[in-house]
């Protein structure tokens, strides 16, 4: 699943460590999320959305084809 975490973080001038601390995960998890290697759980997605004051859909881009659901 693609996401806009990296772009949003740059926009708000927040470091990976700051975001990680705010949403209670390790910096490695933020790196993996930004690289698209790891999909956040619903709880983490909520926390990240709350942190950026956005909705989950505005941050995480769900692609049916990419997820092989179609």
């Amino acid at each position: 699943m693609k996401n806009r975490i990296h772009a949003l973080r740059k926009e708000k001038k927040i470091t990976q460590s700051e975001l990680a601390e705010a949403v209670e995960v390790t910096r490695q998890t933020i790196i993996s999320l930004e690289n698209g290697r790891y999909n956040a759980s619903l709880i983490l997605a909520h926390k990240i959305a709350q942190f950026f004051s956005l909705t989950i859909e505005e941050i995480f881009i769900f692609d049916l084809e990419e997820e092989n659901i179609e």
Binding site: A20, E21, E24, V25, T26, Q28, T29, S32, Y38, A40, S41, I43, L44
Partner: protein, 155 residues
């Protein structure tokens, strides 16, 4: 309760809760330390066969080293707020938890596969060992069945 504290698969909760868990773990590992000393003492005092004595003293020393290691690690974490915070984050991090669970699942599958191969090979060499190995596979399957049904009801 003891198992739940010692084998927490998905730890969650506040810093206070984590602190409580670490302090409880400390008590359990101190308990294990004294039990190990007891096992070692008994193995040297009792007049039993040398193989049983070696086995029980080996087990005692094994438990003793594990308990010392965990007591020291716990103290090291509890003595620094920074370490405590970092360790808690590592434990509650969902990616770390996923990685750990997947690694355990993979290790379990490989283990069963290796046991199955060994069971087949030992069938030609020593049928008794082959029987023990197939027993272990059976036990693993039974435990999987039990935990599957427990978790299926729980979720």
């Amino acid at each position: 309760m003891i198992l739940k504290t010692m084998f927490r698969l998905n730890p969650k909760g506040s810093m206070d809760n984590y602190l409580k868990v670490l302090k409880t773990k400390r008590i359990y590992f101190i308990g294990l330390f004294f039990i190990s000393l007891g096992i070692i003492g008994v193995s040297f005092l009792l007049k039993v066969g040398s193989s049983i004595r070696s086995f029980s003293s080996g087990m005692g020393f094994g438990f003793l080293s594990v308990s010392i290691l965990f007591i020291l690690q716990n103290e090291w974490i509890l003595r620094s707020k920074d370490r405590l915070k970092r360790k808690r984050l590592e434990e509650i991090d969902e990616r770390n938890q996923n990685v750990s669970l997947q690694a355990m699942a993979l290790a379990g599958r490989v283990m069963v596969f290796v046991l199955a191969v060994l069971t087949f090979i030992f069938g030609f060499i020593d049928p008794k060992i082959s029987m023990y190995l197939s027993g272990i596979i059976g036990l693993t399957g039974f435990l999987y069945f039990c935990f599957y049904h427990y978790l299926n009801k729980k979720m």
